[in-house]
Every structure is written in C-alpha cells, then in structure tokens.
Amino acid sequence: MSYVPGQPVTAVVQRVEIHKLRQGENLILGFSIGGGIDQDPSQNPFSEDKTDKGIYVTRVSEGGPAEIAGLQIGDKIMQVNGWDMTMVTHDQARKRLTKRSEEV
C-alpha cells in the first residue's frame, strides 16, 4: 500500500496487544523490527512498495509474547501506544517499543 503524504490512507489495521515478558531485568516483546526513515527501504523483503520506510516485523521469536498475541512476521507497525511508527527512525522506533514504564 503506498503512502502518499497528505492523502488518507486506506488499510486494514489490526490492533494487537502484547504483554511484555520479563526476562531478567529486561522487558521483552519477542520480535525484531526493521526499517525506519534512516534506513534503505529497498532491502525490505516485506514491503510491497519498496520506498516504504515504515517499521516492519522481521522476526517473531517462538513462544514469545508477540507470537502469542498474534503478531506475524512481515506486519507493518503503524502505531505503538499512540505513538506513530510510520515516520520514525529505526532507533526512535526501537525506543518507543522498549520503554521500561510500559508493560503492554
């Protein structure tokens, strides 16, 4: 789906609630992300539009909280707890997902 800034986006969006798992002193979600506005989008194997610089799920660890919640590999992440994920850098995306204060 191509995202033209300024035009409304038509997409099927699904809300997924992932409960973070405590592993030692870290809270993990159990998946890996790729992408970002500072990354090269042509290397993204999941996006249909190769200029899409959004955040995609590249790997879901087995039995982890993400898999249990129904997140699948190749999904594009649009928002996290109200924070936008379509126009963020890779590091910003990672930070928004790994906030210690949030458990879900």
Partner: protein, 564 residues
Amino acid sequence: MFSRNHRSRVTVARGSALEMEFKRGRFRLSLFSDPPEDTELQRKLDHEIRMREGACKLLAACSQREQALEATKSLLVCNSRILSYMGELQRRKEAQVLRKTGRRPSDSGPPAERSPCRGRVCISDLRIPLMWKDTEYFKNKGDLHRWAVFLLLQLGEHIQDTEMILVDRTLTDISFQNNVLFTEAGPDFELRLELYGACLEEEGALAGAPKRLATKLSSSLGRSSGRRVRASLESASGSGSGPILLPTPAVGGPRYHLLAHTTLTLAAVQDGFRTHDLTLASHEENPAWLPLYGSVCCRLVAQPLCMTQPTASGTLRVQQAGELQDWARVHGVLKGTSLFCYRQPEDADTGEEPLFTIAINKETRVRAGELDQAAGRPLTLSISNRYGEDEVTHTLQTESRGALHSWMEALWQLFFDMSQWKQCCDEIMKIETPAPRKPPQVLAKQGSLYHEMAIEPLDDIAAVTDILAQREGTRLETPPPWLAMFTEQPALPNPCSPALVAPAPARTHPMPWGRPRTFSLDAVPPDHSPGASRSVAPLPQQRSPRSRGLFSKGPPRTWLQSPV
C-alpha cells in the same frame, strides 16, 4: 599422605616441584618394557613439548597483537596437552605395575569383564550467548572493549581447541564454527569444556610511557579507563603465570583467563541442539570478564563403533518360513541394530540389498539351541522380535560349535554395548567430517575487496564471478566516466547507522537483507562468518561518487533490524 609400600594415586599439582621433575624427564624408569601405546603417548608428549618451545619463541618474537594472541593460545593448549599426557602416562605406568606385581586373592575381580565398545564423539555448532547491558548494546556508550575467546575441549587425555574469535559488544553470542571430533571415547566419557578469554587493551600512547607518568596520566583519566590502564600495567609487569601455564620465562603479552567451564556426558548426547548450563569461573574484577548469559548451546552426538562397523559376519543357514527342513545358505553381517543376510559374502561389500534383515534391539531375545529340535542339529540360534502383537522368530544354523559360540558372543557384546551407549544406539547419529581448519585470517583494517568477499573453498568459479558481476553491475550505474577521476576510496564511514560500525575483523559479504542477528536460545544458528558486524552493510565502494563532497550524507545503505 604417602606410605612406603602402599600404592596410591598421585595427582601432579601444577607448578609443583614434582611436575618440574617430570619436565626434566627424571621419573623412575619402569623395570618392564613399555607397551606400544605408551611409546605413542610419549611421542605425542615430545611433540607437544617441541610445539611449546616454538610457541614461546614465536611469542617473544612477534610484534602484532593478533599474532601474540594466537601464540599465547597455542601455548596454553600445548601446556594443557602436556599436563594431560603426563598424567595419562603416569596412570598407565601405575596400572602396569599393579598388574605385573600380582594381585592378592581378595583383589582379583571378575575374570573376563566385558568392556563396552569405543565410539566417536563430535561436538559442533557451539554457541555461547552474551548478556550485555542495554545501555552498552544499543547506545554504544563508552569505549569498545574487545576480547579474544576460544574454547578448550578435553575428553580423556585428548585436548582440542577451537579457533580464536574476537568479541565486542556488537555481538550477541559467541559462535564457533568448528566441529570437534574425538575418537576412542567410551560411553562413560566426560567432555570438559573450558572457555578462555583475554581482554584486548587498546594500546595507546601509555604503552611505552615511564611508570610515574603513566600512573599520573591514568589517575587523571576517567575512572573506568584509568582502572583498566593500571590493571594492564600491573599485569604486564607481573609474572605471567595463570592456573594453566607452567613456569615459563616471563613472557609479556596477553593473558588468558578461565571464564567458564562445564562437563558433558552421555546424558547430554542428542541428535539435535541442546542448551547446557555453564559454570562461570570469573567475576567482574577479572580484567577478562565477559557478561555471559550462563549457558552454552551445542550439538553433541556420539557414534559407537558397534553401530558403524560390522561386529560379526559369517555363513549361516536360515530356516525358511514354513519349511522345516529347508535351510537357505546366507552370509550374515551383524552391524548396528540389524543382522543383514546377504546372498553372497561379496554382496555386503558391493552394497547390494540384503535378502532380508533381522532387527536386533533391546527387546530382541536370543536363544541358543531350540526346543523341539531333531537330533543332529544342535547348532542353532533363534532370534525373536516382538512386533506389536506378533512374535517373529528366525532360526539360524551355524557351521560349527565354535561359530555358534562366536555369534553368541558377538550378540551378547552388542546387547552390552546397547545398554551402555543407551540413546546412541537407537539410530546412527550423523557426524560431519570437520572441514580442514582454515589458517587464522589476517585482520585487515581497511575494507579491501578480498576481505569483503567470503569465498568458501567449495564455491566454484561461477559463484565468484557472480559476486564480481553483481559488484560491477552496481558500479556501472554511476554517471559518466569523467567522475572516475575521483578515487574510489570511501571517505566517510556510513553515517546512517546509529551504532558505530567498529572495524570488524572480517567483513561479511553482501548478503541479502536477511539474517536476524539475535538468536533465541534454542534456534539453529545460521552459518555465518565469524565476527558479523551489526549493520548488514554493502560496501562503501558501491556508493556513487556523486554523493561525496556535495552532501554530507549519502542515501541510506543499511536496513537494520533490532530485537525488542
């Protein structure tokens, strides 16, 4: 304590006077001649001693840090081997003397004890996860510490080592690509695994500074780096003897410390990957401390010889089903968990299909002789297997009483082996022959073409030309030839990756995006070249020259992935 006439086992303390006596070759000569396996061991011992001298000389002579690391590692391995061979020699001599001086009646054990067959044990795909603090891993704060690590594996008196791998905080696991194979292992083997690490200090200007200046400088540096510098100065001036090193002339250079160890036995053998716990042996104050997660993941397989080699073979007569008097002549070969019956002896070698196969496993019952047997045919063997509800019995007849006895003996030995080797006898576990060890790669700091192409020896020329064509192809896209005036040297490091791309020892070749860098504990590690750098970076040379000098940033060339 030692009493005069009582033989007791002695463990040779490392670094002790007794050990020095051994080194000088002054142990008491045995009154009896050495059996052949002792001379073999002696030869290996001499070889290791020579290797050790060579390693000492190399260490004294080498200038580059990586060479020093490799030389220190060989030294450590040689020392461990020498100690284990000496211990083994001592044990054998003791056993020999005990045998020959005769035994008191109460000492004699059962006359013919059955010993289980030997086997081959192979450990491969070793992976040790690391546990960095997230501030270190993600934000890349502070100086980049680097460590050199390797594993020492010991089974019985055989010691083998893995290659040495450089680790820094961009790696999430330490992965060793080696397959380590031990032959001549018994089912009661204990495979001891030891992880050694040495901290790589960045040699700065302080290396040659006089001591007072250095202490002043180190106290005025930041706390952690100053502490490090002081520790390295102290360790360099002290004598270099760790727990393993025999007293050698004080050699400067890196010191390896034991970081963790564990022992694996038959219970850990499985045809798949398993995770085992590591016993951590060092703590934070140790300069070479690495944040280990505390476990090691590997594939440990064992192939007992009874499964891979035929244990008995000979001519047999098999009673055909239904016909009591009709006996067919076959050539039987007992191998693994089956008795293969071939039409002719040559068929077994040529790989022909056997006429039929009789399974022999833990449930099989074997009887000599038969109940309702006509006189004149006493040399029979019956083998019964239970398949579900039915019981299938094969009756075999041997040529002579001696042959019957040897078949029975072979079958009993097989049953004993199966009871000892347990899960290894269910199915043959595959052991891949270890690839010849590549010589340690020269660590180059700049990215030249050769270092960025990981060419496996198995690749044919087509693969190589493909890689080259791919590279040339992208370069052809660049604009007109007058821009070729600019040299191809990349001036800027890749500015887009949030983490600094530390000069990796061996760059990875331009793979497609894939290859997640973090592994869950039980996943199969993909095969990748050691020292994978964090960004899946194609070469800076691919960047079009147009971007240089005009913009400060080029188009992003990475597609990072991070676990969350």
